[in-house]
């Protein structure tokens, strides 16, 4: 059968003469270059790049590379600026993945802080015992990933002193947290040992109020707000990457500031 694409009449060879100049202009390099941009065009027509799983995977790969860059940028001896107590915002700003009206207060009588992983003394802690530990107070800026910030005054034992007390392996990679509001979280060991990382039990000198994590929450001066879980119920020291609530949804894990 005759190809439907074949012209019914053969082209006049004189056409070639008419276009001799053009033909001379066709260069190999030009064709290569053209081919390259054609490839780019094919990529562009992928159009909604944001919803492609491959793109999402690549972006998360860069995000974990950024975790490593941030760990390198983190100076364990650099202290965050502190502020006078008069600048403390009262009450602090509430922020969670749900509204403040949905906060379920923790019953301090039955509450326990459990320990797991690379810790030698795994006996659970009562609130009373935790409140008996030596405290440190810090007035620091809380910076949210959204862009807002406020100054808050927090006190409680440093996480470092707590980890030392329970015989945690301080060479492990991660410290992970479980909370009463199902908000798992985890941080790197270097930040866990930073002097401005507290197991906060008080705000502005008074015990934490229910919406802000009573009886104990994490407060770090060197990480974004969402890295600070409230109503902690368990702490695990581990070498296996534990992830976290927002991190699993695509937020950056290290989130150092």
């Amino acid at each position: 059968m005759r190809s439907p694409f074949r012209p019914s009449q053969p082209p006049d060879p004189a056409i070639l003469d008419d276009h001799r100049r053009l033909i001379r202009l066709i260069e190999r390099r030009g064709i290569l270059r053209g081919g390259l941009s054609l490839g780019m065009l094919a990529m562009l027509t992928g159009c909604d790049v944001t919803s492609q799983p491959a793109v999402d995977k690549a972006l998360r790969l860069v995000s974990s590379w950024n975790d490593r860059v941030q760990a390198a940028l983190f100076d364990p001896n650099h202290l965050a600026p502190t502020y006078p107590k008069s600048m403390i915002l009262k009450p602090p700003k509430f922020n969670a993945y749900y509204d403040i009206t949905e906060v379920k207060p923790v019953d301090v009588q039955t509450w326990k802080l459990e320990l797991a992983g690379l810790v030698s003394d795994k006996r659970p802690w009562t609130a009373e015992r935790l409140l008996g530990l030596p405290e440190k107070e810090m007035v620091i800026k809380h910076i949210c990933v959204e862009g807002w910030d406020y100054i808050g005054g927090w006190s409680g034992p440093t996480l470092r002193s707590f980890l030392e007390r329970v015989g945690a392996d301080l060479t492990a990679k991660y410290v992970a947290f479980k909370t009463a509001d199902d908000y798992p979280s985890s941080i790197d060991m270097a930040t866990a040992l930073h002097p401005q990382t507290l197991l906060a039990t008080k705000y502005a000198g008074a015990p934490l109020a229910d919406p802000f994590g009573f009886p104990v929450r994490l407060r770090m001066a060197t990480k974004l707000g969402y890295k600070n879980p409230k109503w902690i119920t368990a702490i695990e020291v581990t070498n296996r990457y534990p992830g976290g609530y927002w991190e699993n949804l695509g937020e950056n894990w290290f989130a150092g500031i």
Binding site: R33, T50, L59, C144, V145, T222, G250, E251, N252, G256
Partner: protein, 194 residues
Amino acid sequence: MHWTNAVAMIIMIMSGWGIYDDYVIIPGLHFSSTFRLGSWAAPSLLWHFAGMWLLALNGLAYLVYGLITGRLRERMLPIRFRELAQTVRDTLHFKIEHEDLTVYNAVQKLLYIVVIVAGISQVATGLLIWKPIQFSSAVTLLGGFQAVRIEHFIGMSVIVGFLIVHVALSLLVPRTLWAMLSGGPRLHAGEESS
């Protein structure tokens, strides 16, 4: 380098708008989801913190190349006020010919310098917003965390403003577009391109 930068800039601007919308600086100013890269803040942040590498590394290569070869100084300087005024007058009379594409007019030089400075400033303020505690003294120097956010926003506005003028003018002088795509202006017959 120009087109890598163009892609990086568009990624940074559109993902930046996605991040901005989470906590606006100017009350009432939101960016429509059509112009945002990322369906919500987290993907926008992922794009922004991936695009930053492309923008910063390509920008660094451009500056190093321009400084070492002397190309930047040769193309951008000097800017004479009289030429500037003349070009503005010509433009207002719709005389926007661009005879020799290898030579920039005074307004072009000024705008290119402004946008290069804005780009450098965006990388610097961006780094400070990313790491306001690690670089706390620099943040204090620039007026605090919120001030640096606003400076980053102003830098974006300058670049977007430039982009609008830049694209409009290149469309008005279509010859420049071909030169941009082919890698250089067409030289006169007989001349060897290097």
